[in-house]
Amino acid sequence: MTLLDLSARDREGATAIAVRPAWDSEPLRYLDEHGAPVEGGARPRPESLAPAALLRGYRALRFARAFDTEATNLVMQGRLAVYPSCRGQEACEVAAVHALTEQDWLLPTYRDSAALVLRGIPAVDALTLLRGTWHCGYDPKQWRTMPQCTPLATQGPHAVGLGLAAKLAGDDSVALCFFGDGSTSEGDFHEACNSAAVYQAPVVFLVQNNQYAISVPLHKQTRATSLADKAVGYGMPGVRVDGNDLIALTAVLGEAVDRARAGGGPTLIEAVTYRLQAHTNADDAARYRQSAEVEYWRHRDPIDRLARYLTAIGALDATVEAEIDEECEQYCERMRAQFAEEPTYHPDEMFEHVYAEPTTQLLAQREMVRAEYGSGEGEGAAQ
C-alpha cells in the first residue's frame, strides 16, 4: 500500500480507513463488547472479581464520565480555557489510579484530568492548568501526582527518576506513567523505556492508544502493529490489553505494579481504547475521522460493557444506578459551585517562585509592574 492509500479522507471523500480496526490480533480482554466473559482471556485475581470490587470500579467509571462531561460543559461556558476530554477512556483512568497506593507516584498527561480527581485532588485544583489560573493547582508532593503539562513524553524520564530514587532509597513505591499513542514517537518515550529497563526501575508505562494524536491516526504514527511490541526492544515485558475493559486492565496493571514493587523492573502496557471526543474543544474531529468509526467505538464504551456484566451477575440494578446518578450529580453541582467563584490574580505572583529567592533584577521588575498595576484587586492594566 502506498502512503496515499493510507491517507485519511474527510467525511465527503472516499473511505480509506476501515471502520473496523485491522489488527493482527485482538488485545487481551476479560469481557467482550457485549459484557460477556471471553474464553482464554485475561485472568484477574479472584478478589478483583468480587461484586463489591467490581461495583467500586463501576462507580469510579461513572464518576469519571460525569467529571469529564462537566468539564466539557465548563469549557463550553468559557470557564475553562481548554479541555482535552478522556471520554471513552475512563477504564484506563480508573484502573491506573486503583492500581496504585497513596505512596506510589502518578505521572499524567494533559488528557488525564479524570485520573487526578480519582486520585482525590479537588476538581478546581486539578483543572487549574486548563482553566488558565496557574500552571498547576495542586501540590505534586502531597498527592504524589506530577503536574500535567503540554510537552509530550517528557514525563517518561521523570517517572524513571522517581522510580530509581525510590529504589535507591529502599522504599517500594512505584511510578505509573501515562502516555498517548502519539507520544510513543517522541525521543523521551524511547529514552524513558530504555533507561527504566537498564536501571530496573519500578515503573509502569501505560500507553493509552486512543488511535489518534490530534488528527494523526496510529498508522501514520508507527508501522508497528502493536505498541506493546516495543517492549521487546527495551528488554521488558509488554502487554497489549483492551483499554475499554476495566477487568482486564485491573489484572494487567495489578501484575505490572506488583512486578515493579517486588523489584522486577518496568512493564510497558498498551491499552487499546478510543478518544470519543475531539482532541480538545478547539478541535473539529469531523475533518479527519468518520462518524461510523466513532459509532463503532461508542458500542464498545467501557462503562456500558461493565454495566452489562454487572447486571448479568446481579450486582447492578436500577436502584444502584440511581444512587450513582445522584452521587455524580451532587459532585458536579459542587464542581459548578467551585467554578462559579472567580479567583483573584496579582502580578506579584509571577515573581514569587522563579527562584528560591528572587534576584535583585526580578525585584526591580516587580516594582515596575506594581507601579503600573496600582493597588486594586482584579486583573492588571493591559500592556
Partner: protein
C-alpha cells in the same frame, strides 16, 4: 558547608578541585548522587569524577545509557523525590538533546508548582574551545540558559572558585548550570580545601584598575588578565571583573567598576550576536550611561559556528583583540 579545619594550601588543578568538591559534597550528604555518561568506571573523559564510584559505590556515582534527555529527566524525577543529582553533560554541545528537559521542566518546575516542587539539580557542563577539539566539542551555550528564567548559571575561572561554587551549587535549592571552562581544567593554584570564596551572585575584581573595566567570565578571565598585564607595561591600568555568576548577576559590582573607570569592554568566548555580552552591554548603557567615556564594546566569539581546530586561533578572543578594543575605548571621545 560546615566549618572545618582546612588542610594546608597545596597545588591543585581545577579538575581536581571539582573532583574534591564532588567527593566532599557526597561525603556530607548522602542525597547527593552523580551520574552521566562515562562518569563511573572511567571517572569522566576529563577525569573529573575519578574515584567517586570506588569511594561511594555505584548507587551514588553511576554510568547512564547514552541519552542526555533522559539523564536530565531522570535527574528531575530524582530531585522531586528528594535527591540532589549532580549530572554531567559530557561536552557543551552534548547538552542540546537535554534542552527540552532543561528549559521546559528543570527551569520551570518550581514556578509551575508555586514553590511546592523545587528541583535542586546541578548540571555540570565542560564548555569552550582552545583545546583543538573537533566540531561540537568547543561550544559555549551559556546564553540560552541565562535567557531562561528559573536557572542559575555560574562559571568559575579559578581553582578556588571551582571548588567553592560547586559546593554552593550542590547546596542550592535552585537548579544550577555549572559551566566548567575546559581549557582551564589543568590550571593550577595553591588552594587549601575546603575552600570558601564569594557567594554565587557576586562578582570578583581579579585585578583593580582605573582606565577601563574588562567584564569577563570563565575562559576569558585569564585572557583579560594577560591583556591587563600587557597594558600595564604601557602604563594603562585595566580592571578585570570576573562575573563568576551570570544568573544571579552582580549588577552592583559592574556599576561600581564602570563608575570608577568610565569604560567597559565585555569579553566572552561565545558567539557575540545575541550573546550574554549583549545583555551586559545593554545593562551598562542603561545604568551607567552618564559615567561612560566611551561606548560599551564586546570582544566575543565570531558569529560563525565554532570552527575546526585549524581555524580556532582566528576565532577565539585573545589578549591582542582585547587590547585593540581597549585602544578604541581609550581614544574615544
Amino acid at each position: 558547608m560546615s566549618a572545618e579545619i582546612s588542610a594546608p594550601a597545596a597545588p591543585l588543578t581545577m579538575a581536581k578541585a571539582i573532583n574534591a568538591a564532588l567527593s566532599d559534597a557526597m561525603a556530607e550528604d548522602d542525597k547527593v548522587v552523580v551520574f552521566g555518561e562515562d562518569v563511573g568506571a572511567l571517572g569522566g573523559v576529563f577525569r573529573v569524577t575519578d574515584g567517586l564510584t570506588a569511594k561511594f559505590g555505584e548507587e551514588r556515582c553511576f554510568d547512564t545509557p547514552l541519552a542526555e534527555a533522559s539523564i536530565m529527566g531522570t535527574a528531575i524525577g530524582m530531585a522531586v523525590y528528594g535527591f540532589k543529582p549532580v549530572v554531567e553533560m559530557q561536552f557543551d554541545a552534548f547538552a542540546y538533546p537535554a534542552f527540552e528537559q532543561i528549559f521546559s521542566h528543570l527551569a520551570k518546575m518550581r514556578n509551575r508548582t508555586r514553590g511546592a516542587v523545587p528541583v535542586p539539580v546541578v548540571v555540570r557542563i565542560p564548555y569552550g574551545g582552545g583545546i583543538g577539539g573537533v566540531e561540537h566539542h568547543s561550544d559555549s551555550s551559556e546564553s540560552y540558559f541565562a535567557h531562561t528564567p528559573g536557572l542559575h548559571v555560574v562559571t568559575p575561572a579559578t581553582v578556588e572558585d571551582a571548588y567553592s561554587m560547586l559546593r554552593e551549587a550542590i547546596d542550592s535549592p535552585d537548579p544550577v548550570i555549572f559551566f566548567e571552562p575546559k581549557r582551564l581544567y589543568w590550571s593550577k593554584a595553591n588552594v587549601a580545601l575546603p575552600a570558601r570564596t564569594g557567594p554565587i551572585g557576586t562578582a570578583a575584581v581579579r585585578r583593580p584598575g582605573t582606565q577601563a573595566t574588562l567584564v569577563c567570565y570563565g575562559q576569558t578571565v585569564p585572557i583579560c588578565m594577560a591583556a591587563a598585564e600587557q597594558a600595564a607595561k604601557e602604563g594603562i591600568e585595566l580592571e578585570v571583573l570576573d562575573l563568576r555568576s551570570l544568573v544571579p548577576l552582580d549588577d552592583a559590582a559592574i556599576e561600581r567598576s564602570v563608575a570608577k573607570t568610565g569604560r567597559a569592554i565585555v569579553v566572552h568566548e561565545s558567539v557575540g550576536f545575541g550573546g550574554f555580552g549583549a545583555e551586559l552591554a545593554a545593562r551598562i548603557a542603561e545604568r551607567c550611561f552618564y559615567q561612560l567615556e566611551a561606548p560599551v564594546t564586546r570582544v566575543a566569539g565570531l558569529d560563525v559556528p565554532f570552527p575546526p581546530p585549524k581555524y580556532e586561533h582566528w576565532y577565539l578572543p585573545d589578549a591582542d583583540r582585547v587590547l585593540d578594543a581597549v585602544d578604541r575605548a581609550l581614544s574615544a571621545g
